[in-house]
């Protein structure tokens, strides 16, 4: 769906999946803050919780009981507009911020874990149809998918649907190896445009660290770098109670996310 830019050019709206090989890489943190940043930049955004095995947006966004869960939409029990929760009032500026929340109950998690391949095929169809219902008809600028780690059905469905994949990784050895394999054997096969975010980097301002990260991206991952996120003690201390890009507008983390959102928006991840 094209949207008008300042210069009057037409810009395409996008579906972005935030994914990683391992858990604990900061996917949800990045997905939430990236979506909020887009909204702060005046965009119409919807954040989706596609991590059905460990839903977390209900808690982070403090949405206890939406009319319908995202699970209901994928099960074919309701339309997508019944799922979307309008949280725009929480965001400063003229942007619009919606969320589609996954059901965190144990029964729902068990039920979603036991789906068969035919259900997953229909779920892929439902996700693909969001391009028409939300991007074209409802004029959303961005849909941001927070996914499960690794090669799960729900996360691969999200990757296939997405235009751009933000790959979160850390310095952990097994994560480096797994991410490299995933880039080669998953994203490349689906011809997905990707941007790498190296998270929890210790001492990112030192030249040796920067050189090490640049070399790693160039030699090991061989995909464009979207951003380098230092390990911030403040984020750990907040214990998930803050959305930094909204609650801490002057924090360095907010500046990094601002830059990432701009790069994606201007299609500068090359």
């Amino acid at each position: 769906m094209p949207t008008e830019t300042v210069k009057g050019e037409r810009k395409m709206s996008k579906i972005i999946a935030v994914h990683s090989y391992k858990g604990g890489t900061g996917k949800t943190l990045l997905a939430v803050n990236l979506a909020v940043t887009f909204a702060k930049h005046g965009k119409k955004v919807c954040l989706f919780d596609l991590d059905f095995r460990a839903p977390s947006l209900f808690s982070i966004l403090k949405v206890e009981n939406p009319g319908c869960w995202l699970n209901d939409y994928l099960n074919g029990n309701c339309a997508i507009d019944k799922v979307l929760v309008d949280l725009s009032s929480r965001i400063e500026g003229n942007g619009k911020f919606f969320a589609a929340i996954a059901n965190p109950s144990t029964e729902a998690i068990r039920e979603m874990s036991a789906k068969d391949r035919k259900w997953e095929m229909r779920a892929l169809g439902k996700l693909l149809s969001l391009r028409s219902t939300l991007l074209n008809d409802k004029e959303f600028d961005y849909l941001v998918f927070d996914t499960s780690p690794g090669l799960q059905y729900s996360s691969i469905n999200a990757i296939v649907t997405a235009d751009f994949v933000v790959v979160a990784t850390t310095g952990d050895r097994s994560d480096v190896d797994g991410t490299r394999r995933m880039l080669r054997e998953l994203y490349k096969l689906f011809e997905k445009k990707t941007g790498l975010v190296i998270n929890k980097v210790l001492d990112p301002t030192s030249k040796s660290k920067k050189d090490e990260m640049d070399a790693r991206v160039k030699n090991i991952y061989q995909v464009p770098m979207l951003g380098l996120v230092p390990c911030f003690c403040e984020i750990l201390r907040a214990e998930g109670n803050l959305i930094f890009t909204q609650d801490k507008p002057n924090h360095p983390f907010t500046n990094i996310l601002d830059e990432m959102a701009r790069k994606i928006d201007r299609d500068e991840v090359n």
Binding site: R122, L124, L128
Partner: protein, 118 residues
């Protein structure tokens, strides 16, 4: 020309088109040594199936997944490959059981039947 000869010509054209498509499938079968033709019983066109496909078929199948329903011509416009090539790949996917094909007048539409399975 009266209506009857026109009707006969139309039938001949349709038959030729079908023959052409069968030839394209046979050529593809030979090219790939029949390696691609081992359909799983009642296998849906899900992401794991897409991952296991050879690159040339995955590209076609992905395009149908995105479009929902398309002709070989429409798929070829997305993949930048020749219409005849896409026609062959689409027919391969039909034979493998991953896609359905429906004729409407002169056009043949291909789609993944998400609703009838399961």
């Amino acid at each position: 020309m009266s209506k009857k000869p026109l009707h006969v010509l139309e039938k001949i054209r349709e038959n030729l088109e079908r023959l052409n498509q069968k030839m394209e499938v046979m050529i593809e079968l030979q090219k790939h040594g029949r390696q691609d033709f081992q359909p799983l019983a009642d296998a849906p066109l899900d992401v794991m199936t897409l991952l296991s496909m050879p690159d040339h078929l995955r590209k076609t199948a992905m395009t149908i997944c995105r479009c929902g329903r398309a002709t070989a011509e429409e798929v070829s416009q997305q993949t930048n490959r020749a219409r005849a090539v896409e026609s062959a790949y689409l027919n391969q996917l039909v034979i493998m059981g991953y896609l359905k094909k429906e004729r409407k007048g002169r056009k043949a539409y291909f789609y993944a039947d998400r609703d009838s399975q399961g």
